[in-house]
Amino acid sequence: MSLEARSRPARKVDAEVARLREDFPALAQKIGGKPLAYLDSAASAQCPRSVLDAIFEQQGMNHANVHRGVHYLAERATAAYEAARDKVAAFVNASSREEIVFTRGTTESINLVAASLGGSLLKAGDEILVSGMEHHSNIVPWQLIAARTGARLVPVPITPAGELDLEAFERALCDKTRIVALTHVSNALGTVNPVRALTEKAQAAGALVVLDGAQAVPHFPVDVRDIGCDFYAFSGHKMFAGTGIGALYGRAALLDRMPPYQGGGEMILTVAFDSSTYNVLPYKFEAGTPNVTGAVALGAAIDYLSRLDREAVAAYENGLLAYATDRLLAVPALRIIGTARAKVGVASFVIDGIHAHDLGTIVNDESVAIRTGHHCAMPVMDFFGVAATARASLALYNNEEDVDRLILGLERARKLFK
């Protein structure tokens, strides 16, 4: 994942990865007569045909409510849903399927942990460590539970390069630290954090570790047991599976002790007006009819990624990031925000004298899609002293032409604002 591997991938690998683009129907479209250059996958990624087909088949032919029906379609739907859970468990190398809870996405996953674990564990004076590069979804849930329990949120600063200040992290860990909530990969900066080492240090201090993996899983394999974290959250739509689905990995022993998050059907064993009993894992945390189609889509996206040579894809993405970085740095008055040594394909930048919003609108006229604004990371914007950045993000289906078109769009913006 290092920018330092600047050598271009072998031509053969390039061509193979380039062919992957054809798997994604959305990318073939033209907007205003110009082919789409989609550089916003960090916001949401496009789906390959195999995922779209799986959605169509599940919703079209295998649809029924799950878990309790005795009819044939219900059994098919349940099998499809639970097969998807097995795929997720294998995808992150969980110890068992009981450790995978389907949610709406990373945000809901973190809220679940904050409310249920945080709510039962935290007392006044306890500390929750977060980093200065967190997405709002890994800040606000902790603020909410801190307010309820009297615990304190302790942010750990980042460096001007956009890396976690490791010394400050170690200094912040103390006997009051109960929970450490960190992002594996920063959506605003692209920074890849050394989560294995950070988890080790945090757990040595007696804290539980919750990782936001939304921006990691699309780019490289994640092994939660190797990392050693207690919880790992991610979203389907960032990894080519479509919206409305995500997952939470949690250690079985912890999930077992945690109280339910949402109540309702599916998460109970028995219900009576004086008291109810709760279902076993992971169902205790899945109230109501789940997003069955979404889970199946997530499973299909996992299948898609598993069929790829992920190392080759990562090398391709790194090469493309290096290319994009070089081209961006050649644009006058452009400054890249987020220059960590270890990054995924995210390039956040500002241009002197042109607001990010205007950049985004102008490159959009060239059919180039980037994201502009605070990227749900206002503390990051404040740290770098900018109101907003423009962000181009790369996925396995992007190519040099996409980057070239972005640069052309930026040139057009510069001419307009001269």
């Binding site: 205003g32 042109i354 607001h355 990010a356 919003h357 205007d358 609108t361 102008i362 006229d365 502009t372 604004g373 605070h374 914007m381 109101a387 907003a388 307009l416 604002f417």
Partner: protein
């Protein structure tokens, strides 16, 4: 896509480069802080009233070209107008920005803001200054947001 030329017309670019009435008013009669949380546009509007007229209007802020130009054009236009005229103008501008109405001659220079109609995500950038104006004149709140 020539819509972009409609959005970034020369008047807009000019007012962004050299915003009119930029700065604060000491002892202002009305001060309103406006923010566009989606993109980080921020502005503070200062008004000095002269009876029922706006004697002076100035603004400070950071933001995209559309928001800066809109603030500049707005302050330029309302100076000397009565409160009632300005509130009417607010309604007319809002209708124009959202495409509910076409710009007419009364809009004069403000008609350049109409380009934003083809760019729904940018309407709030243009309307921030006008919401701040309305708030300042009706004394609702001193902090407003386009949400």
């Amino acid at each position: 896509m020539s819509d972009l030329k409609e959005l970034y017309r020369e008047v807009i670019l000019d007012h962004n480069r050299s915003p009119r009435n930029f700065g604060e008013i000491e002892n202002a009669d009305r001060v309103v802080n406006g923010v566009n949380p989606l993109c980080g546009d921020k502005m503070t509007l200062y008004l000095k009233l002269d009876g029922d007229r706006i004697g002076d209007a100035r603004f400070e802020g950071t933001g995209c070209a559309i928001s800066i130009a809109s603030s500049s054009l707005m302050t330029e236009r309302v100076k000397g107008s009565t409160i009632e005229e300005s509130l009417d103008l607010f309604n007319d501008v809002r209708a124009m920005l959202t495409g509910a109405r076409d710009p007419d001659d009364r809009m004069e220079k403000l008609a350049v803001l109409a380009g934003v109609r083809e760019f729904p995500s940018r309407v709030k950038c243009a309307s921030l200054a006008w919401h701040a104006l309305k708030s300042a004149l009706t004394s609702d709140k001193s902090e407003i947001s386009t949400e």
